[in-house]
């Protein structure tokens, strides 16, 4: 584990140097992140001009939820988004070859080799909004609340990773030109709102089939002190199971790798 952490830090360092090489538009990214979260808060505010509750959530609750959504999205954009579409490229052009000769788990390598470190701004902004929401709510989370929050947002991240990874792994058989990330995006977008907002079959789907809503709702509720040990444990279990499954699937898919010939 310690070794993987060292490798991850090395990836981070190399990406940092790479970004500096182009002096990436740090400022414009910062601005667009601020602007994005500003608009999101405004939208929530507009909803609450009409009502004081949204699916059982108050304004401050929804702010916390929005913060969680932003944090999670920041993490995804930092570590997953730069890598997942690349997998296709690796398979199509055969650059997976070098990755497979390295003595590290190849799934780990393809998942975390490229990092967009400035996306961590979104994580910070998200945490800021969470803080702001908590102040509005006049709720001071206990250490246990925070621990539950960390556990549930962690398992949300792992679950998203595993699902996305499995989706991308199918490219070993179906080598497409475009990537499948947009499927993931539209699915994740539903996680912006309280699941209680959705009605009928949509709610059932978003809770049990594609648990996008649950992915952000649980961490937010944990932080607000409304956690539940059983559901948290279940979510950790599910995330662990899917992570294992995605790894098995990856290993299986490697057998079908044909390595674009040179």
């Amino acid at each position: 584990m310690g070794r993987y952490w060292r490798i991850f830090r090395e990836f981070f360092r190399a990406c940092f140097v790479e970004e500096l090489e182009y002096r990436s538009e740090f400022l414009s990214n910062l601005l667009s992140s601020f602007f994005g979260i500003g608009i999101a808060i405004l939208t929530v505010k507009i909803f609450f001009y009409q009502t004081d509750q949204l699916g059982g959530w108050t304004y401050a609750d929804v702010l916390v939820l929005l913060g969680v959504f932003n944090t999670l999205r920041g993490l995804i954009d930092f570590a997953l988004r730069p890598n997942m579409p690349r997998l296709l490229e690796h398979i199509r052009k055969g650059t997976l070859d070098y990755i497979l000769t390295k003595p590290v788990d190849s799934m780990f390598y393809v998942s975390f080799r490229h990092l967009m470190f400035w996306r961590l701004i979104d994580v910070l902004l998200g945490l800021g909004v969470i803080g702001y929401g908590l102040v509005q709510q006049h709720y001071m989370p206990s250490l246990l609340d925070v621990a539950m929050f960390v556990i549930s947002i962690g398992s949300s991240f792992v679950l998203i990773y595993a699902l996305w990874m499995m989706l991308m792994t199918t490219s070993f058989w179906v080598i497409r030109i475009d990537d499948l990330s947009f499927i993931f995006d539209s699915f994740f977008e539903t996680a912006r709102f309280p699941s209680g907002m959705y009605r009928g079959w949509l709610r059932i789907i978003l809770t049990y089939v594609l648990p996008a809503a649950v992915i952000t709702n649980m961490p937010a509720l944990s932080l607000l002190g409304r956690w539940n040990v059983v559901t948290t444990a279940v979510s950790v279990g599910i995330a662990g199971f899917f992570l294992w499954l995605s790894h098995r699937f990856w290993r299986f898919a490697l057998r079908s790798y044909t390595s674009a010939s040179s």
């Binding site: 090395e10 190399a14 790479e18 070859d97 497979l100 000769t101 003595p103 190849s106 010939s261």
Partner: protein, 325 residues
């Protein structure tokens, strides 16, 4: 070090016609065809050997090499490399081997090669002291000093290949797979790369398997060659034996002040007749006799005896087919 038994690899490729109507039909009905890239190949390679892998494009060289490196899953057959089954992809196996491909790069494009070296240091878990020592040595052997801090994208092909070699050797692999390492390089750089490979092999007893299109690589580096064509191993043995059996001729180049007008066909097959120079193809067992005769009877400036060019030998091997050695 390397043992391969009855190795097969087949790919399923879909058949696609050029007409657009076929392309549309192709959307819902795909036709597949099985291509056997490697058919029943067996061989062993000892520690410290440099073996050349020859064959035309699409013969199955690279596919075989990729199976040996654990990248491709063999359809059937057995492979052990350094005591490991490659496709199991054990970290211990990967730490003892390395792959360099002339057509694909492992260097990070936008930043200097040193950064790639550092990433590899972490990946291969090399401690600081060993890393520094190995790097120093490679930098000297490959003359990398001025290149280390330049962005990879600004390096020439030759410079990049030297850096690729360094990146691949940092962890001191016992087995090195080189897939066309000199492709596209100029003659001078090719020579440099060859000299490095030969030196490195001598120094560390690294087992090297090399594929190349350039006969120069093979004649300079390998004592043993394997020729593969249509997925089958058609020759495995010493390079010199190959030359003797396939090309039982030598080239005789004779320089004269004025070419005497005699029936040269009596001496051997005339390859070329120029101003002041005659090139003959003479059977090996008659070379001594013919050259002695020429030297005795004519006024000769210079006389050289050469092996026929490798290209000629190999082409012949493909045309005539060979079995065993």
């Amino acid at each position: 070090m390397i043992a391969v038994k009855h190795l097969h690899k087949s790919f399923r490729v879909h058949v696609r016609q050029a007409r657009w109507i076929d392309a549309v039909r192709h959307l819902w009905r795909r036709q597949y065809r099985t291509v056997e890239a490697v058919k029943d190949i067996s061989f062993t390679i000892e520690t410290g050997e440099i073996v050349g892998f020859l064959g035309p494009n699409g013969a199955g060289k690279t596919t075989t090499m990729k199976m040996l490196a654990g990248l491709l899953y063999p359809t059937s057959g057995e492979i052990t490399v350094g005591g490991f089954v490659p496709f199991e992809q054990k970290p211990e196996f990967k730490k003892m081997m390395s792959l360099v491909m002339g057509q694909k790069s492992q260097l990070i494009w936008d930043i200097p090669p040193m950064e790639t070296f550092l990433v590899n240091k972490a990946i291969y878990d090399i401690d600081d002291r060993t890393f520094r020592r190995t790097l120093e040595e490679l930098v000297e052997l490959l003359e990398l000093q001025p290149l280390l801090t330049k962005p990879t994208r600004s390096l020439s092909l030759g410079q990049r290949m030297r850096c690729e070699l360094a990146a691949a050797l940092l962890h001191r692999p016992a087995i090195l797979f080189l897939d066309e390492p000199t492709i596209g390089l100029d003659v001078h750089t090719q020579e440099k790369v060859r000299r490095f490979i030969a030196e490195y092999n001598r120094e560390y007893q690294t087992t090297i398997l090399l594929t190349s299109h350039y006969m120069g690589d093979v004649t300079a580096l390998c004592d043993r060659v394997m020729i593969i064509n249509h997925g089958m191993l058609i020759y495995d043995g010493e390079l010199s034996v190959l030359t003797e059996t396939l090309a039982p001729y030598k080239r005789l180049e004779i320089h004269f002040p004025i070419v005497p007008s005699v029936p040269w066909d009596d001496y051997g097959e005339v390859v070329a007749m120029e101003d002041g120079k005659v090139t003959l193809r003479v059977p090996r067992d008659k070379v001594a006799e013919v050259s002695a005769h020429v030297l005795q009877h004519f006024h000769v400036h210079d006389l050289t005896i050469q092996d026929p060019p490798m290209e000629e030998v190999i082409t012949r091997a493909f045309q005539e087919g060979l079995h065993g050695s």
